[in-house]
Assembly symmetry: C2
Homo-oligomer: 246 residues x 2
């Protein structure tokens, strides 16, 4: 996100981390100063962006409060209240995306979820968000919590299912490559159709023979059998809104 801000013409004044090497690594990329003490923070800045573990957010906010500036956090599952009690002005700037150190991201397509302690702050943050992304959403506290939960179902859990699939193939000495077009197509489809319209597989056809055979193949893996059964039961009960293929 700091690279996206930099590229959009903003100045990253400082990067703070308890670990100065972490701060330096990021600061170097965005031509900022690295600091490892919050007392060294430059007061001549417009906004503090806190991107730390959820439970560290109030701790950092409390120490930044003395500077009397706009403070935002970037967490999906933390309320604005974690900042409000300390900050003169506060907000949330939540990027709804999965970030890994191994892979860069085109920030212009990352949905940014904005909440502000006042309408003025909300406007400021919306404008700021618009400089780095073309998908800016005003999302309130309850919506953001639910959105974070939905993201677990839409991202973290599917990735784990890819992992299970890979484990199954490993045992057959089949490379994971063979599944990649299928994984990609499955995600591509829901870019233009609702999931219910494009659900395929034995469960949506209620193909009991195939499901039983699959459970047989998993008979040494009770946890996977449970996952298979639960998800298949869910699919069988799915609200089919269209005559998509099966």
């Amino acid at each position: 996100m700091s690279a996206a801000f930099k590229n959009a013409g903003h100045q990253i004044v400082q990067v703070y981390s308890r670990d100065i090497q972490h701060a330096q690594l990021l600061a170097y990329h965005v031509k900022a100063e690295a600091v490892d003490k919050l007392s060294r923070v430059n007061a001549e800045t417009d906004i503090f962006i806190i991107a730390v573990k959820d439970d560290a957010i109030p701790v950092v906010a409390q120490q930044l409060a003395v500077y009397n500036k706009l403070i935002v956090h970037t967490a999906g599952n933390t309320s604005l209240a974690a900042l409000k009690q300390y900050a003169a002005a506060s907000g949330v700037f939540y990027p709804l995306q999965t970030f890994s150190k191994v892979k860069e991201i085109d920030f212009s397509t990352v949905p940014l979820c904005i909440e502000g302690a006042s309408p003025e702050i909300e406007l400021t943050l919306t404008e700021l968000a618009g400089t780095i992304s073309n998908r800016v959403y005003k999302i309130n506290a309850e919506q953001r919590r639910q959105l974070h939960l939905a993201a677990v179902f839409a991202c973290n859990f599917p990735n784990y299912l890819y992992y299970i699939a890979q484990q199954i193939l490993d045992k057959q000495k089949i490379g994971f490559d063979i599944l990649k077009p299928l994984i990609k197509e499955t995600a591509d489809k829901v870019q233009n159709y609702l999931p219910a319209q494009v659900q395929t597989g034995p469960a949506i056809r209620n193909d009991e023979n195939t499901m039983e055979e699959h459970l047989d193949l998993l008979s040494n893996e009770p946890a996977l059998m449970q996952i298979y059964t639960l998800l298949s039961q869910g699919i069988i009960k799915m609200d089919k809104r269209s005559n998509g293929a099966r």
Copy 2:
């Protein structure tokens, strides 16, 4: 697949369906003759491709046996034996992809899994497959069954999880669009990294507070609570092979 064959310069002689309108619809696109009786099948053809429900495969194969031609089926979960007992020459031609009537597919990237009753048939099918796809795999019966199972985990189940995520957003009056970049990025990541390298979310961080809050949000949905718990337990136990981000 018939369109891909046609585009590759093959001739689709006939398209059979019990429902002549179904046969006509497909036949029209590939300039073939539509038939609704297997007794009307043109004997002057090189290969019969059976793409019907699993349990109908032997029924159709038995009726095609009189023509003494190469017969293949396209099913992931049906063995070659279903054809062998009837056909003079038989094989499997299994495209590992999710097909919906609503969306066309670039067949050249679809993995084709080939099995033949003899090495000669396997060679013929491999060459044929190579004319429509650049991803051709020799896959034996046991491998194909496991592959079909893996595909359920890699495609059908993730699509159902997208559906759950959409249901959660619906209740908050948030459009499904906001999740699309996340879904796409999650599938894109595993094109170049193993799922274990790019797993993110509360479970892989063992963030118990967040997981408890998520279960609270699901308290009226016992089936979803079970799914959340099972998949999170699986992620917590995941074999982390790399230091991917969390």
